[in-house]
């Protein structure tokens, strides 16, 4: 039975992958903090969708559990936690001064995606081993997600988009992970879910402290610590 469904699942998974990548682009390009959070939630839901599709045939309770865990922690608990910890006015803020303007940012992001495809090409399995089709979709897109998250981190100057870029990097790693390492122990998955929440909590506290101390969450402006230049 599972044989007949595989092309359909594969196609749907490719769609989820495409949208996953699109949401990563969205995080690079939106100026508003709230928009960035929305794109992150969408990305997490697409990660979960891909886990469900991968776990559908042959049926894998493990991957379904991973998908559910992702939805609960990343698209529900995490935004709730961040909303509680960081003041509302931060979310409506718009970043006017990004390090790189948005059109060139998108071009660089495009370059990163191409780079991810070339980089991951030698790792891809040859032939038609079980699950190889999924790996061919998820591995390059996951790597691209990782790189785009890192790029978001590098160009954004506000605290929350940087935090979301960090989490997007992890999303990218897991997007590849659900395909290449589906046998990961459930203990590890649970620990990761816990870890994501601790991360959001700690950086949320830190963001609040920065806000109270400097009157702004623009962490890109924090640049007092450095060495004396050579004379």
């Amino acid at each position: 039975m599972s044989q007949g469904f595989e092309p359909l699942l594969s196609a749907l998974n490719a769609l989820a992958g495409g949208l996953f990548l699109l949401s990563a682009f969205g995080m690079v390009a939106t100026r508003q903090v709230l928009g960035c959070l929305r794109f992150f939630i969408a990305q997490s839901l697409l990660l979960a969708a891909s886990a469900f599709l991968l776990g559908a045939a042959p049926l894998s309770a493990h991957l379904i559990a991973v998908g559910l865990l992702t939805i609960i922690t990343k698209s529900w608990l995490l935004p709730w936690l961040l909303r509680r910890m960081v003041r509302q006015e931060v979310y409506t803020r718009r970043e006017i001064t990004q390090a790189v303007n948005i059109p060139s940012s998108l071009l660089i992001a495009l370059g990163l995606v191409l780079g991810a495809y070339f980089l991951s090409a030698p790792w891809l399995p040859a032939g038609a081993a079980a699950g190889a089709g999924f790996v061919r979709i998820n591995l390059p897109i996951g790597l691209a997600g990782l790189l785009l998250g890192a790029y978001t981190l590098a160009v954004r100057r506000e605290a929350l988009p940087q935090l979301l870029g960090l989490l997007a990097m992890e999303n990218g790693a897991f997007f590849a992970g659900i395909a290449v390492a589906p046998g990961l122990s459930l203990i590890a998955e649970l620990a990761v879910a816990f870890d994501v929440l601790v991360l959001a909590f700690v950086l949320g506290v830190l963001t609040r402290m920065i806000h109270e101390r400097t009157g702004s969450t623009e962490v890109g402006r924090l640049a007092a610590l450095k060495e004396e230049p050579f004379r």
Partner: protein, 480 residues
């Protein structure tokens, strides 16, 4: 059981510190738990030195020689840092709530660091490394000043994004492992199956983890956060961050080296990365203005030396690299205790603000001088012996270029460190120095932490060298 006790004690201490009504108990409970853990880790190390692997939960929690060595160092520096905190932190803050949170985080941080060597499942080790960052971020930001917050944010963002890159590597590693047959997943089974795993995946995984966790070890070019965080944190935390946290993460990279076969480029990368870090840091040392930053840059240099030594590849070089980890953990933590004392005495961490410390406080002056000499690698102190062994191992392996570069960097760092330290100790005292008395626990820490620096410079106890031999054997590739 003993391993579970080692992991449980800091958690218990954190709970007691968090829940108890009175702040007076926090430093005592923390010190007591750290001391008990030191004894337990010593017992584990003694058993591991005999070649035994101590197992608590098969494939989940286990300690061989290498793990026991790192755990022992963490508990040793944890104990001295807890003792130092007692007197020092009471001077740093008047707010009881902040102090309580400090001790809760301190114990959680110790727990996360101990989990890194004692967990045997690599994916869980990744989480433990991530937790070491998360539990220490709020320690770095403890002072709640503009600078401390900047340092904490950079620390969190750079090391956590490094961890995400390493995560990709760990997932590839797990994939390679499953391709080779799978089964129970642990460092030991992974090493036994190394020959059967696809080399291309293995190399990619290694490189991603080297770069990702390299950010946390402080390897150039991702070292930029390290001098900030390691100088802004409260001094006992600096001792933990610089002395053992970096080594605990480097331990994970070392665990991967034996997976790579002789045909792989992995060791060459490790050597190149190590040399680059040692070189850049030794020159950056020359132009610091803050003496805590001076010691932090020296950590980057030392980690580079250890990684380069491990990259040399021979058994003697692995042994010397581990000896260097031991000497650095003890020496660098002592440096920060001396720096913290100097800061208490003078009220500043600017190099230019401290002059003639020896005259205003003989103990503080001698401690700073000893710290500087130790970490610069002067004979007959602990780091001289280990750096000498590394150079000797490189020479007997015929890696002359690497040895020449290492010698140059060590010499530059030696000059750089002493150029800053000597005037601080001997110069003419400044008129406006504060001159406070050092708290008793600080004095006691300085005396106790100085002992091993002298001992390890001239004499290596038989049990320790047995442990180092067992641990170094874990770094060699198993031929199939």
């Amino acid at each position: 059981m003993i391993l579970i006790a080692i992991l449980a004690l800091p958690l218990l201490a954190a709970a007691v510190c968090g829940l108890s009504g009175s702040e007076r108990w926090s430093p005592r409970v923390t010190l007591l738990a750290a001391l008990a853990n030191l004894l337990l880790a010593g017992e584990v190390a003694l058993r591991a030195a005999g070649g035994e692997t101590i197992v608590a939960l098969p494939h989940w929690i286990a300690a061989d020689g290498l793990s026991a060595l790192i755990a022992l160092l963490i508990t040793a520096v944890g104990t001295s840092a807890a003792l130092f905190s007692w007197g020092y932190m009471a001077h740093s803050t008047q707010k009881p709530r902040a102090l309580r949170l400090y001790y809760v985080n301190f114990n959680l941080f110790l727990f996360a660091m101990l989990a890194v060597p004692l967990l045997a499942e690599p994916n869980l080790v990744w989480i433990a490394v991530e937790l070491t960052t998360l539990f220490s971020v709020l320690l770095v930001s403890f002072a709640d000043t503009h600078d401390a917050l900047e340092a904490a944010w950079k620390y969190a963002v750079l090391t956590l994004s490094g961890a995400a890159i390493a995560l990709f590597g760990f997932l590839l590693l797990f994939w390679a492992w499953q391709t080779a047959g799978g089964g129970p997943y642990s460092w030991a089974t992974l090493r036994a199956a190394a020959g059967a795993m696809p080399p291309r995946l293995l190399q990619a995984a290694f490189l991603l983890i080297l770069v990702g966790f390299g950010a946390k070890v402080g390897l150039v070019p991702l070292h930029t956060w390290l001098p900030d965080a390691h100088s802004q944190a409260p001094t006992p935390v600096c001792a933990l961050l610089s002395g053992v946290e970096t080594s605990a993460v480097l331990y994970v990279i070392l665990r991967l080296l034996p997976l790579l076969g002789p045909a792989s480029q992995g060791r060459a990368w490790a050597l190149a990365f190590g040399l680059l870090s040692a070189g850049v840091a030794s020159f950056l040392l020359l132009r610091v203005r803050d003496y805590k930053r001076l010691f932090a840059f020296s950590t980057v240099e030392q980690m580079g030396i250890v990684l380069a030594a491990a990259g040399l590849g021979s058994g003697a070089a692995s042994y010397a690299a581990l000896l260097q980890i031991v000497a650095h953990a003890l020496g660098k933590s002592f440096c920060f205790y001396a720096a913290g004392s100097a800061a208490l005495l003078s009220g500043t961490t600017e190099i230019a603000g401290v002059r003639g410390l020896l005259r205003s406080s003989p103990l503080g002056g001698i401690a700073l001088l000893l710290g500087g000499l130790t970490i610069a690698g002067a004979p007959p102190l602990a780091l001289f012996l280990s750096e000498f062994s590394i150079l000797k191992a490189g020479l007997s392996g015929g890696q002359y270029l690497a040895v020449a570069l290492l010698t140059l960097f060590i010499a530059v760092a030696f000059f750089g460190i002493l150029r800053h330290i000597l005037p601080m100790v001997f110069g003419k005292p400044l008129p406006q120095s504060v001159n406070r008395k050092l708290p008793r626990s600080v004095v006691l820490t300085l005396l106790l932490a100085a002992l091993p620096l002298f001992v390890l410079g001239v004499y290596l106890p038989e049990q320790l060298s047995a442990l180092l031999r067992v641990a170094a054997a874990a770094l060699t590739h198993l031929a199939r």
